[in-house]
């Protein structure tokens, strides 16, 4: 039963979402100054807040690439996008973004990572063709945990 606030499942997914940034390598930005990884969300506010909270802590925890959290609708350009609901794939800010969908039920085309539940555990699948299309490098460690999929 859904508790007030964010569910455990969504918390795990939020955490996993953060962990994905550790195993996926985005091409370097053409900038002299470090550019944060833009994580865009199209979720509930509760999820967004929870995510904002853990990203804040994450950014404060050490010398790694910072993550900038934004709403999809507000973002100009996203590198990683989490969708709880299907969105218009033609959004320009999502054109080079790795899409992670909450479940297979979202039905978002060109999604790279999709959460699903197996034996009451949150698992995820990775479409390596999508990631390859985005020119992303994925850690084998992550691939080892994921169900690998290809475009049909």
């Amino acid at each position: 039963m859904e508790q007030p606030g964010l569910s455990k499942e969504n918390k795990i997914k939020a955490t996993y979402l953060l962990h994905f940034t550790k195993y996926i390598h985005w091409p370097a930005a053409q900038s002299l100054v470090p550019v944060p990884l833009r994580l865009c969300l199209d979720t509930t506010v509760v999820f967004y807040d929870f995510m904002a909270d853990i990203i804040t802590r994450y950014n404060a925890s050490g010398p790694h690439r910072l993550i900038q959290l934004e709403q999809v609708v507000n973002a100009a350009n996203c590198e990683l996008t989490y969708l709880q609901n299907q969105v218009q794939p033609s959004l320009s800010q999502l054109s080079h973004s790795l899409l992670v969908v909450e479940s297979e039920a979202v039905g978002q085309p060109h999604s790279g990572i999709t959460f699903y539940t197996l034996q009451r555990k949150i698992r995820f699948s990775i479409n390596i063709d999508v990631l390859a299309g985005l020119n992303l490098s994925v850690s084998s460690e992550l691939l080892k945990l994921a169900r690998i999929e290809h475009n049909a």
């Binding site: 795990i12 996993y16 962990h19 925890s61 050490g62 850690s139 460690e141 945990l145």
Partner: protein, 691 residues
């Protein structure tokens, strides 16, 4: 010396054992270190492997932890199954709750997380590693690994076997190499040892070892060769020295033999050799059943000559006497010097007593001949005592003692006599020994007394002098001077007795003078030995000075024999006495060997006619003639004449008729002690009253 299997351990064996022991120690230390190093390396390697696995597992399992994929973690850990040593592996999440695990069949996790600290450790033959699984600074979880140490133990055993083999082989190799090396290096030392042994045992100093390289052994060989050169040279010198020394020893032995057996002065056999020859002679006589004779010869008045003319003259006289004695006997006989003026003559194979006596008289005649010694014509005579084997003794000691005893008996009879031993002499000899003891005691205790006999002048009708006569008190009685004075002379006490007599007579006469008595000269008899002493006049002067007596109140009486020893010296002394004012009288005149010619020049004042002539007056015409001649001679020379031993009135008459005016004898007074003499001095002369 230490032994090995019952045999002495040689230096080389000990050195070899020492080197092997050192090698053993070094090998043991090295083996231990190598083994320890091997084991440590292997253990470190094991830990490194464990650490590597842990690192790898941590890296590969971090994503599983992040995404809570314990299945993935299980798969990762399952890969450890290919490592048989791995006992178990356990992944814990950040809260140390078990996340995934692997375990070899049947093996539980045997450690508690509560007691674990990060790092590795060994426990119960297992190794454990507990580490964090991190991503950056985030602790994702923990990893616990455990592996058994069977491989480590296996490695240890293998290393142990290798080390033991290396140790044993090294030891054998060290032994063989050292044995070989020592044998090679010690070969010259063995040669040196053999060389030294041959030198020490056989005294062969000519052997040498060939020189070697200039190392320590070479230096040693060169040193030993050089030492042998030196020893060989020293041996040669020692041999030469020994030869010289043997020559010297032979010479000295001869000298020592000569010194030990021959008299240095006369070169005659000494007491030692004489005794030896006498012993052998007795043995021969016993074996051959023959007789031998032993003569003990003593020179008469030798002491007078020695004291008056000096030892050099005395020694020359002894040499001459020795030569005369050697000539007097057969070559087969032995003449030896017994000591002083005593000689011993050993006659072997003698026929009878007469032949012995004949030889004795030949010897006496030869000695009695005047001898010219050092410009002095000396008249000496000899007294000979004779003892025969086997009649008078069957051993050397007895024969010598008996011959000596006989010699004293001969001396008593007067100079130039010989006497055969009789056993009756032994008693006399004992008596003489007793008398000798008494004389020594009396001299020491001054147990002498002077008696005084007056000399009466017929013309002056009064006594004109006294003669001091010595007596010895032996505790029981007074001993006659004729008995003890010869003994005193023999034992050398005559000089001190004479000085005592001189002092006593002078002091007594002075005492009488001080007592107011009419004193007259007191005459003392001085032996020739005293008179010829170089300090004779000094002694007389001292006696007069000490007593405070004028020299004219002292008179010295001497015998004719005084001049026989040395006329010149005697005359010189008498002249000094006359010059001093002391009158000199010749006592017992007519009994000695006076040369009438020298009476003329003698510085004497009185002639005393011997009592034997006085005793024979009126009985033998020859005796009266001698007395008359003496009186005529004395009067002709202006000498005072004193007749001694006058005991009868007719003797006074005859003597007075012959022209003698002074008398001494019992007819007038017997010798009186000092007290009686003092009384006598204060009274008229008894003899004249009687007459």
């Amino acid at each position: 010396m230490p032994r090995l299997f019952g045999k002495p351990i040689s230096f080389f064996t000990k050195q070899l054992l020492g080197i092997i022991a050192i090698n053993l120690l070094i090998l043991a230390i090295a083996s231990g270190l190598i083994y320890s190093s091997f084991v440590d390396d292997y253990r470190d390697n094991l830990l490194n492997i464990m650490q590597s696995k842990a690192t790898l597992l941590s890296a590969t399992s971090s994503s599983a932890l992040l995404f809570n994929d314990n299945e993935a973690a299980h798969k990762i850990l399952a890969s450890l199954a290919q490592y048989p040593a791995m006992r178990f592996a356990q992944i814990y999440d950040a809260n140390k709750a078990p996340f995934a695990g692997y375990s070899r069949a049947g093996l539980p996790v045997d450690v508690s997380l509560d007691t674990l600290t990060l790092g590795s450790f060994f426990s119960q033959d297992n190794v454990y590693l507990f580490s964090r699984i991190q991503q950056g600074s985030d602790v994702l979880g923990y990893l616990l690994l455990s592996a058994d140490t069977d491989s480590l133990l296996g490695r240890q055993q293998r290393y142990g076997r290798i080390v033991i083999w290396v140790f044993v082989l090294s030891l054998l190799l060290a032994y063989l190499l050292n044995w070989r090396l020592q044998k090679r290096m010690l070969a010259p030392i063995t040669q040196l040892s053999k060389l030294v042994g041959s030198v020490a045992q056989q005294g062969l100093y000519h052997k040498r070892l060939a020189p070697r390289a200039a190392d320590e052994i070479g230096t040693l060989i060169t040193g030993v060769n050089s030492m042998l050169d030196t020893i060989q040279e020293h041996q040669k010198q020692l041999r030469d020295h020994n030869e010289r020394l043997e020559g010297v020893v032979e010479l000295k032995t001869t000298e020592l033999f000569t010194r030990a057996n021959y008299d240095a002065l006369t070169q005659l056999p000494n007491r030692h050799l004489l005794t030896d020859r006498l012993t052998h002679g007795i043995e021969n006589a016993r074996r051959e059943n023959t007789e031998l004779a032993l003569m003990f010869l003593d020179l008469d008045r030798f002491k007078v000559i020695n004291d008056s003319l000096g030892h050099a003259i005395g020694d020359q006289l002894l040499e001459q006497v020795a030569a005369e004695l050697t000539e007097a006997v057969r070559k087969s006989d032995t003449v030896g010097r017994w000591g002083g003026d005593e000689f011993v003559i050993l006659l072997e194979h003698v026929e009878d007593k007469n032949s012995i006596e004949k030889i004795a008289w030949q010897i006496i005649d030869k000695i009695t001949q005047p001898m010219l010694v050092g410009g002095h014509q000396l008249h000496v005579s000899a007294s000979i005592g004779i003892a025969r084997y086997p009649q008078d003794g069957i051993d050397a000691a007895n024969l010598l003692l008996h011959a000596d005893t006989s010699m004293y008996k001969a001396k008593v009879q007067g100079p130039g006599k010989c006497h055969f031993f009789t056993y009756a002499m032994l008693d006399a000899s004992i008596e003489r020994l007793s008398l000798e003891t008494q004389v020594r005691q009396a001299t020491k205790n001054k147990a002498f007394t002077l008696f005084y006999q007056p000399k009466i002048s017929l013309s002056q009708q009064n006594f004109i002098g006294l003669e001091a006569l010595i007596r010895m008190n032996n505790g029981d009685q007074y001993v006659s001077p004729t008995a003890f004075l010869p003994v005193a002379e023999d034992v050398g006490l005559m000089h001190s007795i004479s000085i005592w007599v001189l002092n006593e007579a002078c002091q007594q006469n002075a005492a009488w003078l001080e007592a107011g008595l009419p004193i007259v000269p007191v005459a003392v008899n001085l032996p020739v030995s005293f008179l010829l002493d170089q300090q004779c006049v000094e002694h007389i002067e001292q006696a007069l000075c000490k007593a405070g007596l004028a020299p004219e109140f002292l008179e010295v009486e001497i015998t004719e024999n005084t001049f026989m020893a040395s006329t010149e010296l005697a005359i010189e002394v008498l002249k000094k006495l006359r010059k001093l004012g002391v009158n000199v009288a010749i006592d017992d005149f007519g009994t000695g060997y006076s040369c009438l010619a020298y009476l003329r020049d003698l510085p004497i004042g009185t002639l005393k006619i011997d009592g034997t002539f006085v005793k024979g007056l009126g009985k033998k015409s020859g005796n009266d003639g001698i007395v008359q001649t003496i009186i005529t001679l004395g009067r002709g020379l202006g000498l005072e004449l004193v007749a001694e031993g006058v005991e009868q009135q007719y003797q006074v008459d005859i003597l007075a008729a012959m022209g003698c005016s002074v008398f001494q004898g019992y007819y007038f007074s017997r010798p009186l002690n000092a007290t009686d003499m003092a009384t006598y001095l204060g009274k008229p002369v008894q003899g004249f009253k009687a007459r």
